[in-house]
């Protein structure tokens, strides 16, 4: 056995001491010391999220407010650099969007929320990936200089509570939160703290993301963990949950060379924006829409038990390389190996037989529809 550890300068989230107290194994991730797993282990954490509720520390992600200046609508302004339908966001509504470069590649994916009036008029709340925040925020601020002002929220932690019991649990602390719909956000006072709560997440389960002042983060985490349905969940299970949900992980399934057409994310670029063609990278997106991209993201189901991991080459029946696995591992709910990758257009049809090269051998696999586990987002509130 051998193990290697990256040595990087490490930051801590407000929950660091709590993670250590809970027995988490801490690893460096995007510049932070983060829990990869707790003593229960990834399989149990994964199952706990699918059957009960899992609590995730996602405080390493970047949070910011974006305010429109000089009477400009902030959402219309942000559309200058993002391809989503942001003008269509009504207060309290949230959208997944993409930060793109002029070559049509994806620089990051992010969540954009038009805040409810009590948090301010003409204001958006942004959440970006931890590993990209030091470039995303200056990039957005510079691109919109004089039109919008970006304010980073360094004083806020971010917790995600995910799973079928998440709504029932969180509603005990924030009455009314269970009435939110998927991709809807509001302000709730929880344990005396003003929290921005959205019904969203990245596990395929119903759930919430809760932005809370750093000073209140530990008390909230401890209170939620005190509920019988809630278990702490580390990055390991977060990754297996999002892979089963068929969701892209930035830096793996998405990168600055990959277009939204290739990634299958065109649902994030609505008809109006395609017609306007006025976002970064629009030329490539429209051209790929018209004539097809040179590769597409697909789901892959290897036969047998051997996981094919990121970087494994995808081959056709003749052994010719036709693509690359960008995320792969073991799907605990699927109870077997699963993967996503990019393949040439001739091989994207569901049912296509391919091989995944693991340790020099081609493991038989099949192109399958994503996601591997059906999502359980709550489109219409039950209460």
């Amino acid at each position: 056995m051998s193990d290697t550890g990256d040595q990087v300068e490490i930051r801590k989230t407000p929950l660091y001491d709590l993670h250590v107290r809970l027995g988490a194994r801490m690893v460096p991730f995007a510049g932070y010391a983060m829990p990869v797993q707790y003593p229960a282990g990834i399989l149990k954490e994964h199952a706990a999220t699918r059957t009960g509720a899992g609590l995730f520390d996602v405080s390493h992600m970047g949070q910011a407010f974006l305010d429109g200046l000089d009477g400009r609508d902030v959402a219309a302004t942000l559309e200058e650099i993002l391809p989503g339908d942001l003008r269509g966001l009504t207060p309290g509504r949230q959208k997944y969007s993409l930060l793109m470069n002029d070559a049509g590649g994806i620089e990051d994916d992010l969540m954009v929320t038009r805040v409810v009036p009590e948090l301010g008029d003409n204001r958006l709340y942004l959440v970006v990936n931890a590993g990209c925040k030091e470039t995303d925020f200056p990039r957005i601020a510079a691109a919109l200089e004089g039109k919008a002002r970006l304010t980073r929220l360094e004083d806020r932690a971010l917790l995600a509570l995910q799973g079928p019991e998440a709504a029932a649990v969180l509603d005990r602390f924030a009455p009314g939160v269970a009435a939110l719909e998927f991709m809807e956000a509001g302000v709730f006072t929880i344990l005396g703290q003003s929290c921005y709560v959205s019904r969203s997440g990245y596990t395929g389960e119903d759930g919430f993301e809760i932005s809370i002042p750093n000073s209140g983060a530990v008390a909230l985490a401890e209170a939620l963990l005190g509920e019988p349905e809630v278990e702490p969940i580390g990055l390991g299970a977060r990754d297996s949950l999002r892979l089963e949900a068929g969701l892209c992980l930035y830096g793996h399934d998405l990168d600055p060379a990959t277009s939204p057409v290739e990634a299958g994310l065109m649902w994030a670029i609505p008809k109006r924006r395609r017609e306007e063609a006025n976002f970064p990278g629009a030329a490539r997106v429209l051209s790929e829409l018209a004539s097809g991209p040179s590769r597409r993201r697909v789901g892959l189901k290897p036969e047998g038990r051997i996981p094919a991991r990121e970087g494994a080459e995808i081959v056709d029946a003749d052994g010719q390389v036709i693509g690359l696995v960008t995320s792969g591992g073991f799907g605990p709910s699927v109870n077997g190996p699963i993967a996503m990758g990019y393949v040439a257009p001739a091989h994207v049809a569901v049912g296509t037989r391919v091989g995944l090269l693991v340790r020099g051998k081609a493991i038989p696999a099949e192109v399958v529809a994503l996601p591997f586990v059906a999502p359980r987002y709550v489109r219409k509130a039950k209460i």
């Binding site: 056995m1 051998s2 990834i42 390991g236 038990r305 051997i306 996981p307 073991f330 340790r359």
Partner: protein, 126 residues
Amino acid sequence: MTNGLYFTKDHEWIKVADGVGTVGISDFAQSQLGDVVFVELPEAGRVLKAGDAVAVVESVKAASDVYCPVSGEILSFNEELPNDPALINSDAESTAWFFTIKLSDPSELDGLMTPDAYKTFLEEHA
């Protein structure tokens, strides 16, 4: 840790009787790997040198090589492990042995660690 085992710096263990070694990975190693979901074992008859990559353990997170602690010929492998790789998490230093090997140079054992030495090694390095 179990008495009678020798350990490598790469966290394998070997127990030797009558010139035949039984090899597995340490309890520390399994705890670092987390939930094991697949194990790839060597075929019988393979001849290996000490330090050769001989097996692969796949946890939910990653694939890790297992290195052969001594030189010799693989005699058999644990047929239970492919069916129940989680055995490695529950009983790494006993029932979850990986393979047996006929030692070609028993003096190589002198370069390995006793359980006490391995414990000290872990305290210093882990």
